[in-house]
Symmetry: C2
């Protein structure tokens, strides 16, 4: 029978099992799960499952070290993201399932291998791995999963850099290398330059010998923010208010030596875009990876016809679908070699001593705070294991 | 000295000559010219110049048969188009010039060769040619121009089809062949389907075995318009109001057999675009060649990131710059072979008997009418020659 190590409070309904084998559903230790889409603070609960069995053939057991919270994770929980997780039951090899689907939240994560099943030769106990399967559910203390869901992490990586490599720095790297073949000394423009992607763009461009015009929102501590971006290697940092400056184009030309700018990376959208496009040369690419303004991009017809601007999108999830495991590993090694500074972050620990109800309360509080914008930094969950 | 064959009224100032040789400025017979940018009805005048001299080496003399008025021509006269004509004086081989620049309006035109200079072997008297040089000034009765400014017209072409081939059908052809390699039976979507480009798209697609969803504005006589587009080979014609129909996507899927649509041709812009994009498959191209709504295109961030829609522009002028004369000739031959129906048109004759003042009045009236939208059809000028 399904056993909790600690009594489940009534408001945390345990998954109802219709039929199962005694080992097949023992798939996590403590996990942050949801049964229905909604606001994370409403629908997430921490649930402790029984101790994992030894991994089956071609599977491994892992213990999570750090599990980032990305904005897209929230959209997945809300049900408004195109990538959907598989319910926990669908992973069970014997076809058994809960009456209602149960989802483990989280897409990105760094874990340590704790045991390998028969037929697994690529990994051994103690290896650090990141999850490469999309939406496999990483906000957990331990899971048993197919070995093909992970890939090994280069040794050079710190835990924080390894835990956060698959989304933001990978997005930055691919946007800089996919759309335009940039030459040494060439300038690019980006907005949202203080985002995790933006900071990775600055650093990767710096290491490649490319120059960055970086735009950020004006704010009380903007000079501090600018100083941080300059310390990462930004060449110019400006605010969107500077876009109203009539001399800006001339300033840009002075910087670039009048060489046309061919790449704008956009994580913001909205009405600043036409002004940023005004800084670009003919045939430039505007590559969108986010829309923090929640506004559409007003594209001027003339920019398409006469200036030949190409408006494209980039989605790291699609890149993973379209590229081989080797390409992923190359990408990760390349990023490890670049030795990027860790993103500004905060580790939120979900302590092993606390019961599921207490941890659920922490999770809810965390997402209430995040929804109020009280975290400027990346939040990494450390889900401690109640079975340790 | 500069002589007019007829007295110039005071309000039509003749170009003031600073220094010249007696033959070098004899470059047109009657031409529709302007000295300053502005509304065509304000700034255009008809001016009669002396009889053309024999063509110099590598030049030819031509007599215009038909000279289309394209919307872009109006933008050029207004000074809001990126292509600028060269002033008449700058053509003079000896460097002589008027005190103020004088421009002959018009970009597209069909002409007959009346004389060839020494060294011209590609053309002979009587050849029908179209102007391939951009903004060379075609609203004229006769000109003397470099032979390299023209190319010969395939015999199959009617005068109207030849006169209008270099802009609209060429745009339609290239948009259908450049961005997506369409397969037999594949569907495309276009708006502004009753425009000259739109009608060419329908016919070219039909001849290639591609299917067209065509959108037009609703209007009192919409059934007549639909009937005309169906007669050209349209597969489905709808109005923008039909985009509100919740079953539209299913209707489209029924037509396409659920095959994703990969190409949207946009000559309109504005807020209908997101709805049209909703009919497309992942990775589709939205190719813009016009902006009749005068509204920007509101591009949804999600369409870029998750749906991988690519928003591109097409400009036939750029195509001409980037392609060889051979490619142009191939394009024209291909279009001649396709035997497209003549665009709905009206020939406006500027009669040889009338003096410049009277012709100027006709030109002004014409553009007042056009600016009020009183011409639904393409207008072709026939500038009769006062020297004939």
């Amino acid at each position: 029978m399904f056993r909790h190590k600690q009594p489940t409070p009534a408001r945390l309904r345990s998954p109802r099992i219709s039929h199962f084998s005694s080992t097949s559903f023992l798939l996590a230790h403590r996990a942050v799960v949801y049964r229905h889409n909604g606001q994370p603070s409403d629908v997430l609960t921490a649930t402790t499952f029984p101790t994992l069995p030894p991994p089956r053939q071609h599977w491994i057991n892992i213990k999570y070290i750090l599990s980032p919270i990305n904005p897209a994770d929230i959209n997945v929980i809300e049900g408004v993201y195109p990538s959907k997780p598989s319910p926990l039951s669908s992973w069970w090899p014997d076809g058994s399932h809960f009456d209602e689907p149960l989802f483990v939240a989280g897409n990105e994560g760094l874990a340590e291998v704790t045991a390998v099943g028969s037929g697994v030769h690529e990994y051994k106990k103690g290896d650090r791995v990141v999850l490469t399967a999309q939406q496999s559910g990483t906000w957990a203390s331990a899971r048993t999963i197919p070995a093909q869901f992970v890939t090994k992490v280069p040794e050079e990586f710190s835990d924080v850099n390894a835990a956060t490599v698959t989304v933001n720095p990978s997005t930055a790297y691919n946007m800089l290398h996919t759309f335009v073949k940039l030459e040494a000394g060439e300038w690019i423009v980006q907005n949202g330059a203080n985002s995790a992607v933006g900071q990775a763009v600055i650093q990767i461009a710096k290491r490649r010998g490319w120059k960055t015009f970086n735009f950020v929102r004006n704010r009380p501590d903007v000079d501090l923010l600018k100083a941080r971006l300059y310390s990462l290697g930004a060449d110019v940092v400006m605010t969107y208010e500077d876009l109203a400056d009539k001399t800006l184009r001339d300033q840009v030309k002075t910087h670039t030596g009048n060489k046309p700018i061919r790449l704008l990376l956009n994580g913001v959208g909205g009405k600043i875009i036409p002004r940023l496009v005004g800084l670009l040369g003919s045939g430039a690419n505007v590559v969108t990876y986010g829309g923090m303004s929640k506004e559409p991009i007003p594209v001027a017809t003339s920019s398409l016809i006469f200036k030949d601007i190409q408006y494209r999108g980039f989605w790291q999830t699609r890149w993973y679908k379209e590229n081989t495991l080797e390409a992923r590993q190359d990408l990760m090694r390349e990023l490890a070699r670049m030795n990027l500074q860790e993103p500004e972050h905060e580790v939120v620990t979900l302590p092993r001593e606390e019961n599921d109800e207490g941890v659920t309360r922490r999770v809810k509080d965390l997402f209430v705070k995040m929804s109020k914008g009280q975290y400027g930094r990346k939040v990494l969950l450390k889900v401690e294991d109640p079975h340790d």
